[in-house]
């Protein structure tokens, strides 16, 4: 989570010192450590390899050769069957709609809150920030039943909108907290100059503040998207009907019912992990760029 945020932040290029000097010191113990680390990396990756292998097998192949052998061809039947059974395209779309809306709305809400707290320095903002910190550590288990009850009362139960509202607020608790501290450090002369030029608060927000903090906003956008994509408890409780379910909910519920055979499980695993691995590859660049841009400022 925060991991991806910090990963590439300002890695100094410290490989310039002579390669020869480096090579001279490579003792046998350094090689032993390298071998051990490569072995560990292999163990970490093994489950991914096994999933891909078996998702490409026919059930017959699986039962005769076991789970460890490589597939003897490229059979997508298992994947196709699973796709159709859960209507995976639709599930994928639900996840994208929910996560995308939450990301945009939560960033918007965070910006508005943080503008009042960080730049407006409203009275009692320390209390608000302390409450937000608490809200961030709060377990969803303590909110889920009342939310479920309230959603039923107002007729929003089993709608994607209910999940979008809930996570917009939950994610923006973190966003507000982070953005408030970013905006509190905003250069005051810039604000005053804009005010003297006759810009109102609304214009200052969109023309001066938002452009400067944009790198942080794009990082938040990515995080909110991925975090919401991965959520399980509240979406599972809220989204009962198949046509509203997200990827995590659909797979989790199916797994909970213990109805999947081996090939189907591996097909499900493959389809479940492909989007997130794709995000990882796409967003890694965005995040690195966003952070370096932020650092220059």
């Amino acid at each position: 989570m925060t991991a991806t945020l910090t990963r590439k932040a300002g890695a100094p290029p410290r490989d310039r010192r002579g390669a020869a000097r480096r090579a001279r010191r490579r003792g046998p113990s350094a090689y032993a450590v390298l071998v051990a680390l490569v072995a560990l990396a292999g163990v970490m990756l093994l489950p991914f390899v096994v999933v891909v292998f078996n998702a490409l097998k026919t059930p017959q192949e699986y039962s005769s050769n076991g789970p460890l052998s490589p597939p003897d061809g490229f059979h997508l039947d298992g994947v196709r069957q699973f796709w159709e059974r859960v209507d995976f395209g639709h599930v994928l779309l639900n996840s994208a709609i929910v996560s995308g809306s939450v990301a945009v709305l939560a960033v918007l809400l965070s910006v508005l809150n943080a503008y009042a707290l960080g730049i407006g320095r409203i009275k009692g903002r320390m209390w608000v920030l302390a409450l937000l910190l608490l809200a961030n550590t709060l377990p969803q288990e303590a909110l889920v039943y009342p939310l479920y009850y309230m959603a039923k009362q107002v007729g929003l139960y089993d709608t994607r909108i209910s999940v979008i509202i809930v996570f917009t607020v939950i994610q923006s608790a973190f966003g507000t907290y982070l953005l408030s501290s970013v905006m509190a450090a905003f250069p005051r002369p810039l604000l005053e100059a804009a005010r003297i030029d006759g810009a109102g608060r609304w214009q200052v927000l969109w023309r001066v503040v938002v452009p400067v903090v944009r790198p942080t906003l794009s990082v938040l956008l990515v995080f909110f998207f991925v975090w919401t994509w991965n959520e399980f408890l509240i979406p599972m409780v809220f989204l009962i009907s198949n046509e509203n379910q997200t990827v995590s909910v659909a797979l989790g519920v199916l797994q909970g019912q213990r109805l999947m055979d081996a090939t189907m499980s591996s097909a499900a695993s493959l389809l479940g992990l492909l989007p997130t691995v794709a995000f990882f590859l796409i967003f890694q660049r965005t995040l690195a760029r966003g952070l370096t841009a932020g650092a220059i400022k």
Partner: protein
């Protein structure tokens, strides 16, 4: 702006409208449900009709409930698997990758290895759970097949179905999922450390173990605190892992408070009791956060 005090407060009121939507939404989605949950924990309620006030009845029942205490004991082990072990492994790995691999084999090797260890972190917990419950399946599961292949077939086992191994298997899966997180945090923290510090220590003949203890660990203490707090809290919210891997079974062997509260809410319709469990869980998390923040503050002061 003649009187700065009055001007300032009028200035502040102007920002209030920006806070209003957030304030209203927070009250509705977090504030009210949070108080409602505490409220229902003092009642007997099935979720329909009017809740019946029973004061501390649920909490008295909790104290006597062996299943509840067992669930907390299981959670201690899960904290071990999700917070303590990954932090320790992450520290050693981060030090090895920064101090040895990066300097002796180049930063590219180090970052490829880091990415491999990090990869499980990008999976949604549910997907990781689906993957592992299939890998650990008793019939034809990959783990048992692997044991067979290396001649350890006698160890083959119904890993998640046997009460003796279920919790340990869950902990093992969590270690796999979790070690990437401390690793990348610690490695980025170590970027702050001047590499000449390591080189000087190496020239002075400091062994790797000594460099680890006297250079690596002291330099990234702040990161260690943050990672431990974050992962410990995450371990107390381990609902999806348990739901997908074991559903708290077999026979409650992997039950944890977060799952136990869900069971009471949605399977037993004992909402009051579920709320009491969730309230206790919240208190534990808040207490942990306060303790951690205190420790961190004290540590920072001593460091100065």
């Amino acid at each position: 702006m003649t009187t700065p005090g009055r001007g300032r407060s009028r200035e502040q009121w102007g920002y209030l409208p920006y806070l209003l939507p957030g304030l209203l939404l927070f009250t509705a989605v977090i504030g009210v449900p949070f108080l409602m949950n505490i409220g229902t924990s003092f009642t007997e309620w099935t979720g329909v009709g009017a809740p019946e006030w029973i004061g501390l009845g649920n909490y008295r029942e909790l104290v006597r409930d062996g299943e509840f205490w067992a669930s907390f004991r299981h959670n201690v082990l899960i904290i071990f698997g999700m917070a303590i072990v990954p932090t320790m492994i992450g520290l050693v790995l981060a030090a090895a990758l920064t101090d040895l691999v990066d300097r002796h084999f180049g930063p590219r090797t180090a970052s490829v290895l880091r990415a491999c260890v990090y990869l499980p972190q990008v999976l949604p917990v549910v997907i990781a759970g689906v993957v592992w419950s299939w890998l650990l399946a008793p019939e034809n599961g990959a783990v048992n097949a692997l044991l067979d292949a290396v001649g350890l077939g006698s160890l083959a086992h119904d890993w998640l179905g046997d009460p003796a191994t279920a919790l340990w298997s869950v902990v093992g899966v969590m270690v796999w999922m979790q070690i990437g997180f401390p690793l990348v945090i610690f490695m980025s923290g170590l970027q702050r450390v001047d590499p000449s510090l390591y080189e000087a220590a190496e020239i002075d003949g400091a062994s790797w173990g000594r460099r680890f203890r006297h250079v690596t660990v002291p330099q990234i203490r702040p990161e260690i605190f943050v990672v431990l707090l974050w992962t410990t809290i995450a371990a107390l919210k381990a609902f999806p892992q348990i739901f997908v891997l074991t559903k708290g079974g077999p026979g409650g062997a992997t039950n944890v408070p977060s799952y136990y509260s869900w069971v009471n809410f949605f399977e037993k319709s004992d909402v009051g009791y579920g709320s009491a469990i969730a309230t206790v869980l919240t208190l534990v998390i808040l207490a942990l956060t306060v303790v951690f923040l205190r420790l961190q503050a004290r540590d920072l002061e001593e460091g100065r």
